[in-house]
Symmetry: C2
Subunit: 347 residues, 2 copies
DNA sequence: TTGTAAGCGTTATCAG
DNA sequence: CTGATAACGCTTACAA
């Protein structure tokens, strides 16, 4: 590679380095480094010279080199079941926004509720010497657990909250969500209440919700009634559940709790088509409060997870662990958040 | 820092390095490097020894160091207006999935349709020596343009397609989308057709859609009728547009094209509440085909952008530019994609 | 307040 | 097929 000055370089990106800036500014390169990291420790005179050199050369600090030298880069990895689902995007967004404001960058990967994929993602992230890691839920493969434990960096588990975990947790109790839904329906007088599980079997958190439901049912002397759809898509699965539970001749469900709003929404559409009056004939409760949920007919009563808050607080907790002083003043907030039951027409 | 073997190290992460592996395996470190990069060039005997050393030490290659040494890391940055919106998530997801399958990692930042934020994100990304960069739309600040031009790496502009751009483009013509909607409604016999702009004024692509609409209207000797909501939220804006355009006593709109499905959906809800029969009294066309759109009453006729394909093809184009051999066989696909008009009940 | 020297953990280069 | 050596661009440690 031939450079502008005519010399040859064997390697290098061709971009201006901190040394180039230092040379132009007539200072040592470490002073340029300080100019960026701790401007206060550099005299105003030098600062000015460095400033102009930086803009003359259009210098962009090489964060890779910086990360290597300091052994802790400003990258934070996040593994999330999926990006495009309506649930997690808000968490990613707020997580990323808070981190970006503090000069950290988000490295993202999705697991699709697969422990193997999660493990692969965590392993790769670790190769980037991240400053911290965020994962979803408390359920990981054994290897992932070891990886996280030996990483020696802050780890946050989001979207869940369980006692006695060694990592920081920011989320809520899925079991409690299941209880909440069941209690709500029982309070309304329903007794024949069914629970429809997620068509994605490896969604462990959905199983926790189911368990909370079952617990409350038993407390009330009622038998839990679980339905596991066999259909592949949530859309088909919701319809299937509706046909099996609400459209039967005898002993139809008076109320159904769905593992998520996707299932509930397709159930409402199926019910509508079949002429079922909701909630009179069959009440419906979902989980997630997706954007569509308020627009259905009947609008969907559902439990709203604090998705945005989770991302925000998770980021703040990480920043604290990293010794940063977060800009936002919301530090008092707890890590265990509550879900709000949004009462609409369907139940 | 005191290490396990009792020696002291001044720096370092404490994790096993390639040298540790080499020592345990009894080979040179460069051979370990080759074991990972080009296994074929290492003899089976050494491969076996390295393999066991790697697992014994639980070695994870340090990608930061690798990126520095090779001057092109395996990171790819993407700037997208927002993560949590229903539109872009699918693009991010498929983009990330393809890249991950090829050993690249996605670094994500959102611009919120702000050129300043986009510029900041691009600048930071460049500091990570990314292998490539993806941005949204053809509209950038001047500085961003220079940054991208001088980056010397593949740059993809997504979600747009315009002639004579220097970067790779993967997307569709927003102007054509505007034309498509207008022609569809004109073909149905509507004449008093209005266009409702995005409440986010800096959404340049939405302005292109409007221009396409206006162009077709003029071709048909009709006067374009633009409405700019003043309300801050899309929900309010859609309602406001409906009141201004469809609920007026005289000269109400026969059909309305909305800049996106969020606006259209809230318009449908407002219309429903006001007792407007859609499409008889007023037809509605959206853009985006969000998940909710098929569930509205009436279900929303809208134009579906190929979000997932955009991410996928953008990733494939980048891999090609990088000299990788993409796993998927979809290389024949064009970069200029079509949007499908999804005909439902509202128009 | 500023500078010098020595890494950080990997890969490109060149030599065997 | 294997290895020694010198970068990559920055920051830590120490010195002035």
């Amino acid at each position: 590679m031939t450079q502008e000055n005519g010399t040859r370089k064997r390697r290098g990106s061709g971009r201006a380095t901190i040394h180039d800036v230092a040379k132009v500014a007539g200072v040592g390169s470490i002073t340029v480094s300080r100019y960026f990291k701790q401007p206060d420790t550099v005299s105003e005179a030098l600062r000015e010279r460095i400033r102009s050199a930086v803009s003359a050369l259009n210098y962009v600090p090489n964060l890779v080199a910086g990360g290597l030298a300091s052994t802790h880069g400003r990258i934070i990895g996040m593994v999330i079941p999926n990006i495009s689902g309506p649930i997690f995007a808000n968490t990613i967004q707020s997580f990323s926004d808070v981190l970006t404001a503090h000069g950290y960058q988000l490295l993202l990967a999705s697991s699709y509720f697969s422990e193997a994929q999660e493990e692969r993602a965590v392993r790769t992230f670790l190769g980037w010497s991240p400053a911290a890691l965020a994962v979803t839920s408390q359920y990981h493969s054994k290897a992932t657990g070891q990886l996280l434990a030996s990483a020696n960096i802050p780890v946050v588990e989001t979207w869940d909250y369980a006692p006695r975990r060694k990592h920081i947790q920011v989320g809520f109790s899925h079991t409690e969500v299941g209880r909440q839904a069941a209690r709500y329906l029982l309070g309304k007088g329903y007794r024949r209440i069914a629970f429809v599980q997620n068509s994605v079997a490896s969604d462990e958190s959905a199983i926790d919700r189911r368990d909370g439901y079952a617990e409350v049912m038993r407390e009330h002397g009622l038998k839990p009634w679980m339905f596991i759809p066999t259909a592949a898509t949530p859309f088909e699965a919701g319809k299937q559940a509706m046909e099996a539970l609400a459209l039967r001749q005898r002993g139809a469900a008076e109320a159904i709790i769905f593992a998520n709003d996707n299932l509930a929404a397709s159930a409402i559409l199926a019910g509508q088509r079949a002429g079922i009056r909701m909630p009179e004939q069959c009440a419906i409760v979902g989980f997630g409060d997706y954007a569509m949920s308020s627009m259905l007919l009947p609008s969907l009563t559902t439990i709203r997870p604090p998705a945005k808050e989770i991302g925000e607080i998770a980021a703040l907790r990480i920043l604290e662990s990293l010794g940063e002083t977060p800009l936002s003043g919301r530090l008092q907030r707890l890590n265990l958040l509550a879900c709000e039951l949004v009462e609409r027409e369907s139940a």
